[in-house]
């Protein structure tokens, strides 16, 4: 181009819009538009540290001790952050309630944090607003309400935090007439009431797993996904025959649960028949005059007149007799547990049985309930409050982190009553049914962005600290309440400072610490908790005959015509709070293997009686209230029992959870049925239509194949001394491993199928969510599957869960067939996947006998901000068209090796834990070096219970399964 031409050209360019310029503007505007969507960049300049904070290294993860009070059982956790982003949650290993393990819910907490559906800014009547306006207007409204003598309704979850309770108290004192109600869809109210009736004071109880020998669980899913981590661990420790005597678990339950799956004797008993079972046991107990219970004449006369027959219980006489003999055989070390969903008198009876067994301090320990447990209001309190609300007596309703519109029974009419309140404020992480009715919608901070403490675990005060500054313009609700105090009482706007000063004045003085407060505070933050004085144990030795006779009367009156419907916490959604969590929605139910929804779990016989098949809709009614739910036909369910998991059919829950599954809530009544969760006299009518219920497993029996093996305790003793127990320790390895040889041992005796391992793996390895439709098509991406097999007769089968991950075969069929050598054997025995070499022929997956390889059929990753922040930078994010699978967390192996090298020492057993192993509450998974004869995995691999799944194929897997164990009563066949 000549100079003249060039000048002309640039003149022409400046004059009009030519192609280049158009494209330039187009790309600039696109860039501007896309950067405008990015809320993170709006938060100011991003500059690197000028002075590097101590201990913070780019790319190296930092662990912070914290807790998650918004999650079931308020777990104590370590939050691993990288460059300021929480990436992985692990249990706090020093915390007694955790021992390092977690449940699936808390493993999924990071997804809640980075949920793109989270509320980002304060909204007023649907319009974006700001905190200044929100604080000002809400405080003004509160002032006006106070002035016009209207009341203020404050609804929160049950508060495990003493600091939060103090904030509420301050708020109540400041504004005068504040009604504070805590809202939990699932709580232990019935249990507390039942125990208060017989003991005079409310209490709860914990099993002492190291001492108990016989446990009878009545509709008590303590090994379920919502069970306590400590119970999983304690139970599992007593199921390994090589470690001493096995505990014997009896389970009486209506529908199969994870606990029933582990039972040695599972008795299908309808929930409404549970009180009769306990009555029968009680009556049998007091026949023996030496029984402590029998010494009380009133109780003896009350119980001896009972005459409950085995027919009334619905169980064969020999089974009942065996149960009685088993419990009474070692009374101090036997105990009975009743599930929270059962009515109060069941708990009274269970407490009486335990008292009769005299097991307090041995098999069981009673515990003073936490303030959170005690704060749950009675149903009539709700009824009265909603009535006042309807009559316009409340000037403001503040729903802080609670979702009453969804959680309360429909017959209470809360949603309509809410319209009579001039001001409704809803603070929430995500859109909810309650935010949909609120004028002010306030974005709440996630637990990982919040300060707090909790006293949910007796004798401990656990701290919660933020691990990143809020992603959105969110605040934790306690801080909102502080900001809405009358002007003259406003203190610090920072809840962290409030918490610290409260600890300084309330906690520090009684903690008896030797160091000064700052050191004490830093140590508490570091450890995540401090020990406090345990409250004195409740007095439970006495049984009040009046209370017991009332309970017996109720239990005698209970009969159950027609069907009965039991509502239990959603194994994945809990009470609906996790509905928008795709990781949890896609985690198969441990029993039904259903994902992305629920159903009415019934027995085959019941389905036949209703003349409906699985997936077909049935209308269940009680007292004019009805719900329509598709059937989910499952083995092991007692006839005429309908079990529905709660937490589904959210109307407003975000883009993931809205409209998933079915809700039994409309069937419930505020005053409850037999209990708030148990309804009898339910009639069923076939409804039109059907729904697609997605189960990841299409086959449920073992076909007589040997991939899962069970062993009985008695048989185990006989085998002691035998050379080999199980088959399939095949020919010597075709590879020679000079250094390490990684292996895994998976103990089926411990695994309850809870799914914590799967979610831990998902979080660790950047595994995408694929959605219900793709799961239905068989394209779920989980690297660790929980195979669930039914063994035995379908009316009451045994259940074995088998975690199935890549077996890292020495003679791997997958490695042989890849044309481009994208999956190759490492010198340490791993089948490594080279993602960027994979062309996606999928031959490896076909040739995998375990079918543990996963293919990116579509681009499954969520592209919305800030979902990308969740990725673990140590693990490649696989693109579409690429095969992937478990690598034994090769990034953790590399990190462990590096750490040992830096510290100038050899790798020790236990230095490296896979994510699944780390999360497992039952300690069922052990990783290590098979070449190290001292390693745990080496010893377990040589265990008599050890076997290789499909070892007969000669693929030489590196995973040893330890057979499931049962400890049935000798001679008793059920």
């Amino acid at each position: 181009m000549s100079p003249i031409e060039e000048i002309k050209h640039s003149l022409a360019e400046s004059a009009g819009l030519d192609r280049r310029r158009f494209l330039a503007i187009l790309s600039a505007s696109l860039a501007a538009a896309s950067s405008g969507c990015n809320r993170l960049s709006e938060r100011g300049e991003i500059v690197s540290y000028r002075v590097q904070p101590e201990g913070v290294l780019p790319g190296v993860s930092q662990a912070y001790a914290s807790s998650l009070p918004g999650y079931p059982h308020a777990p104590a956790v370590l939050v691993f952050t990288r460059d300021g982003r929480p990436i992985k949650i692990e249990g706090n290993p020093d915390h007694p309630a955790s021992g390092g393990a977690t449940d699936a819910y808390s493993q999924a907490a990071t997804l809640d944090l980075y949920d793109p559906d989270r509320l980002g800014k304060p909204l007023y009547k649907g319009q974006q607003s700001n905190w200044k306006d929100a604080d000002g207007q809400i405080r003004a409204a509160l002032k006006q309400a106070a002035a016009s003598r209207e009341r203020i309704l404050l609804i929160t979850p049950a508060l495990v935090s003493p600091a939060a309770r103090s904030v509420v108290q301050r708020f109540q004192t400041a504004w005068g007439s504040v009604t504070h109600l805590t809202l939990e869809m699932f709580h232990s109210g019935e249990a507390l009431r039942g125990r208060r009736m017989v003991h005079g004071e409310p209490s709860t109880s914990r099993v002492n797993w190291d001492k108990a020998r016989r446990v009878l669980g009545c509709e008590c899913d303590f090994l379920g996904p919502a069970g306590r981590v400590a119970d999983h661990a304690g139970f599992a420790a007593r199921r390994r025959p090589e470690d001493g005597e096995m505990i014997r678990l009896w389970v009486a339950e209506g529908a199969m649960t994870s606990t029933g799956a582990k039972a040695d004797h599972r008795l299908p008993v309808r929930p409404s028949a549970q009180p009769r079972l306990l009555l029968w046991l009680l009556a049998e107990l007091v026949r023996d005059e030496r029984q402590p219970l029998a010494s009380n004449a009133d109780i003896r006369s009350l119980l001896t007149q009972l005459g409950v027959s085995s027919e009334e219980v619905g169980l064969p006489k020999d089974v009942l007799e065996a149960l009685r003999a088993d419990l009474v055989g070692d009374p101090h070390r036997s105990c009975v547990l009743a599930g929270d969903q059962l009515p109060w008198y069941t708990h009274s009876l269970a407490a009486a049985v335990n008292s009769g067994l005299g097991n307090e301090g041995t098999a069981l320990s009673s515990v003073v309930p936490s303030p959170a447990q005690l704060s749950v209001p009675a149903p009539d309190e709700w009824a009265a409050t909603v009535d006042e609300l309807r009559r316009g007596q409340f000037g403001a309703v503040l729903c802080m982190m609670a979702n009453p519109v969804y959680s309360l029974s429909a017959d209470l009419g809360f949603a309509t009553a809410l319209e009579n309140a001039p001001l409704v404020v809803s603070s929430s992480l995500l859109p909810s049914e309650t935010t949909a009715k609120a004028q002010w919608i306030l974005p709440a901070a996630h637990d990982l962005e919040s300060w707090g403490d909790n006293d949910d675990h007796p004798g401990l005060l656990t701290l919660q600290q933020p691990t990143l500054s809020p992603l959105f313009e969110s605040r934790q609700w306690e801080q909102m309440l502080l900001a809405w105090l009358p002007e003259n009482q406003l203190t610090t706007p920072d809840y962290g400072a409030y918490l610290k000063s409260r600890w300084e004045t309330e906690v520090y003085p009684v903690a008896g610490a030797a160091e000064d407060f700052d050191r004490f505070w830093q140590a508490a933050l570091h450890d995540g908790f401090i020990k406090t004085n345990s409250p004195a144990p409740p007095v439970v030795h006495k049984i009040d005959p009046t209370g017991l006779s009332e309970a017996v009367g109720e239990a005698r009156r209970l009969n159950s015509p027609e069907l009965e419907l039991l509502i239990v916490p959603g194994s994945r959604t809990y009470d609906g709070r996790f509905a928008n969590n795709g990781w949890l929605q896609e985690l198969p139910n441990p029993v039904t293997t259903q994902v992305w929804g629920n159903g009415a779990v019934v027995s085959e016989k019941t389905a036949q009686r209703l003349n409906r098949l699985e997936g077909e809709l049935v209308e269940f009614s009680v007292e004019g209230r009805s719900v329509t739910i598709p059937l989910l036909v499952e083995p092991g369910v007692a006839d005429d029992v309908v079990l529905v998991e709660a937490g589904y059919a959210r109307k407003t829950a975000g883009s993931v959870g809205t409209g998933v599954g079915f809700d039994a809530k409309p069937l419930t009544s505020n005053s409850g049925g037999i209990s708030p969760w148990l309804y009898t006299g339910v009639t069923a009518r076939a409804a039109q239509g059907s729904a697609v219920l997605v189960r990841v497993q299409g086959h449920h029996d073992t076909k007589g194949r040997s991939m899962v093996q069970e062993i009985e305790a008695a048989g185990w003793l006989k085998l002691a001394g035998a050379k080999t127990v199980h088959t399939a320790k095949t020919s010597p390895s075709s590879w020679e491993y000079k250094g390490h040889k990684w292996g895994l041992a998976v103990d089926l005796a411990a695994c309850t199928g809870c799914g914590a391992c799967t979610i831990a793996c998902v979080a660790e390895n950047n595994i995408p969510v694929v959605g219900a439709e793709q799961v239905r098509r068989g394209r779920e991406m989980h690297w660790i599957r929980l195979d669930r097999y039914y063994v035995g007769k379908p009316e009451n089968p045994r259940v074995v869960h088998q975690p199935m991950m890549c077996q890292q075969c020495d003679f791997a069929p997958c490695e042989k067939v890849c044309p481009v050598a994208a999956t190759v054997h490492s010198p340490e025995g791993l089948d490594e996947m080279v993602y960027n070499r994979c062309v996606g022929t999928r031959y490896c997956a076909n040739n995998c006998p375990y079918k543990v390889r996963r293919f990116n059929f579509l681009d499954f990753h969520d592209k919305r901000s800030p979902a990308e922040l969740i990725f673990n930078p140590e693990v490649t994010v696989r693109r579409r068209g690429v095969m992937e699978k478990c690598t034994f967390c090769v990034q953790r192996i590399a990190a462990g090796r590096l750490k040992a090298k830096i510290e100038g020492r050899p790798l020790r057993d236990g230095d490296i834990q896979t994510a699944c192993q780390q999360a497992c509450p039952a300690g069922a998974i052990v990783f290590g070096d098979l070449n190290d004869p001292q390693s745990r995995v080496h010893k377990l691999a040589a265990s008599r219970r050890g076997y290789l799944a499909l070892g007969e194929l000669g693929v030489q897997p590196a995973v040893t399964y330890l057979s499931a164990t049962r400890n049935p009563c000798p001679g008793l066949k059920i």
Binding site: Q697, G698, H699, H700, D701, T702, K703, G704, R705, M707, Q774, R777, G778, R779, E780, R785, D787, R788, Y789, Q802, M804, P813, K816, V817, C818, P819, V820, A821, R837, C838, V839, G840, T841, R842, Y843, A845, N846, N847, P849, Y850, K851, V852, R853, R854, F855, N856, F857, L858, D859, R880, G881, V882, M883, A949, L950, L953, V955
Partner: protein, 469 residues
């Protein structure tokens, strides 16, 4: 136009017809503009082809997830189609090479067409491994291309063997077919009606003048290529069967698969040749060149290979039972009674029961019967691959990992597209090149040596042993 020779007992040596007339008859479709029927046919097939290509593009854009493939059925329709089309090709090589070596003069009339079909079938088949990849843009990685990373293919993988087998097969078949075409292309050049024809046929015939030396080289080259092609008939489908036979999956892990696949390939290939020839000889009025006698011979081959395939089915069942391996036995049971039992029933009926009608001469020489049989055989053979691939995969070792497979509309569209592509190529072929080998057909006619001499321009010098005399 000569009369069609009466079918039964008619000799392969045809009527004494003017040899020029044979050339004319064969060349006719190239010299007259195609009729409405051809246009309609190609409009239909090329639409299907374009639909198939569009869906392949959609797959590359969205991902394999637009198909029905899943875990555990990671391979489904596209691999079924791949094996099916590779199998179709085998008849061509068998007819043109093996029967040539065995001096079966009756094959001369159908060899060209069969060989062309081979090439089109392999082209169609070759598309499937490509589009089947999760990342097809990296397809070149399956070739051992030297590179600076010293990254080699995995020679242990049967898929790599496939790459070699199929690329060899395509190359040799194309050469063999093209070498055989050269004298005919020269004849076409002589008969060219337009300038385009003359230029194209001139270029393609490489200056063939029918010299003795040309013929000598030609015959030698043709013989050698026939010799090279012959082992490919056995090897290609053997190697394709290794994809399955060397795996661990029950139903795949079977030593009988190689012979079973070869027999099945010849079986389906002959049936496909039959289906198309029956239409073609009628449309192009070449019934006197491709006689009932030819078709009857082919029916005998179909009957024989059908029996072999049936035998293989029974041996597989016996072995499954005899192995006493639970997964193997279950595989057998699942094929017979599982959710895809209907596919097995279609396969068994079409491949084993239906061809039995060819024991009867009446059926073997009846056009409608053999037409229906040939189509059913190909339906059956497609389902055979479906049974082997999908039914084996969907329930293997761990019942918890079992699943079901359902194809999507995209799967069906691509299947239809493959037929569209194949028949589009066939339709172009029949209008562009002689579908019957003029030279070979004439060579089988008594006295052909003389005529051939008469055919060659007499002014050219005689050549003997490559030396001008």
């Amino acid at each position: 136009m000569k009369q069609v020779p009466s079918a039964p007992g008619h000799d392969v040596a045809f009527d004494q017809e003017l040899l020029a007339q044979i050339d004319d008859d064969i060349a006719a479709p190239m010299r007259v503009p195609p009729g409405k029927l051809w246009w309609a046919a190609i409009a239909f097939t090329s639409s299907l082809m374009l639909l198939g290509f569009a869906l392949m593009g959609y797959t590359a854009y969205r991902g394999i997830g637009v198909w029905g493939n899943n875990s555990p059925v990671f391979w489904a329709f596209p691999i079924v189609n791949f094996v099916f089309w590779i199998g179709i090709g085998h008849a061509g090589t068998l007819i043109s090479a093996i029967l040539f070596l065995f001096r079966q003069p009756w094959r001369n009339a159908i060899a060209r067409f069969a060989e062309a079909m081979t090439i089109f079938a392999v082209m169609t088949a070759g598309l499937f491994p490509l589009i089947h990849m999760g990342r097809p843009w990296l397809a070149h990685w399956v070739f051992p291309v030297p590179n600076d990373m010293s990254l080699w293919v995995n020679f242990r993988s049967p898929l790599v063997w496939d790459v070699f087998a199929i690329s060899t097969y395509f190359t040799v078949s194309l050469l063999f077919w093209y070498v055989g075409l050269i004298p005919d292309l020269a004849a076409m050049r002589e008969r060219a009606v337009t300038k385009v024809h003359r230029v194209v046929y001139s270029l393609l015939s490489w200056g063939w003048t029918g010299l003795n030396r040309h013929w000598r080289h030609y015959e030698r080259a043709y013989l050698i290529l026939a010799g090279v092609s012959t082992p490919l008939v056995v090897s290609v489908h053997t190697i394709v069967s290794f994809d399955f036979a060397t795996s661990v999956i029950p139903g795949w892990h079977t030593t009988i698969l190689p012979p079973y696949f070869v027999a099945g390939a010849v079986f389906s290939g002959f049936a496909m040749v039959m289906t198309v020839l029956i239409i073609l000889r009628r449309l192009f009025r070449i019934e006197h060149l491709i006689t009932i006698r030819h078709l009857e011979y082919m029916n005998k081959v179909i009957l024989a290979t059908g029996l072999m395939v049936g035998y293989a089915y029974l041996v597989e069942m016996f072995t499954a039972w005899y192995s006493a391996e639970e997964p193997e036995r279950f595989m057998l049971l699942n094929r017979l009674t599982g959710p895809y039992a209907w596919a097995f029933a279609v396969m068994f009926t079409c491949n084993v029961i239906v061809p039995q009608v060819h024991w009867f001469k009446k059926a073997r020489t009846s056009l409608p019967i053999m037409f229906v049989v040939s189509i059913l055989v190909n339906v059956g053979m497609w389902f055979e691959r479906f049974v082997i691939i999908v039914t084996s995969l969907h329930r293997d070792f761990l019942p918890a990992s079992w699943g079901l497979y359902a194809p999507t509309l995209v799967d069906f569209g691509i299947l239809a597209g493959s037929f569209g592509m194949f028949f589009t190529l066939v339709l172009i072929f029949v209008r562009a090149l002689p579908v019957i080998s003029m030279t070979e057909v004439k060579a089988t006619i008594p006295g052909s040596q003389m005529t051939r001499r008469r055919h060659s321009p007499s002014e050219l010098p005689d050549v003997e042993d490559g030396i001008h005399v």
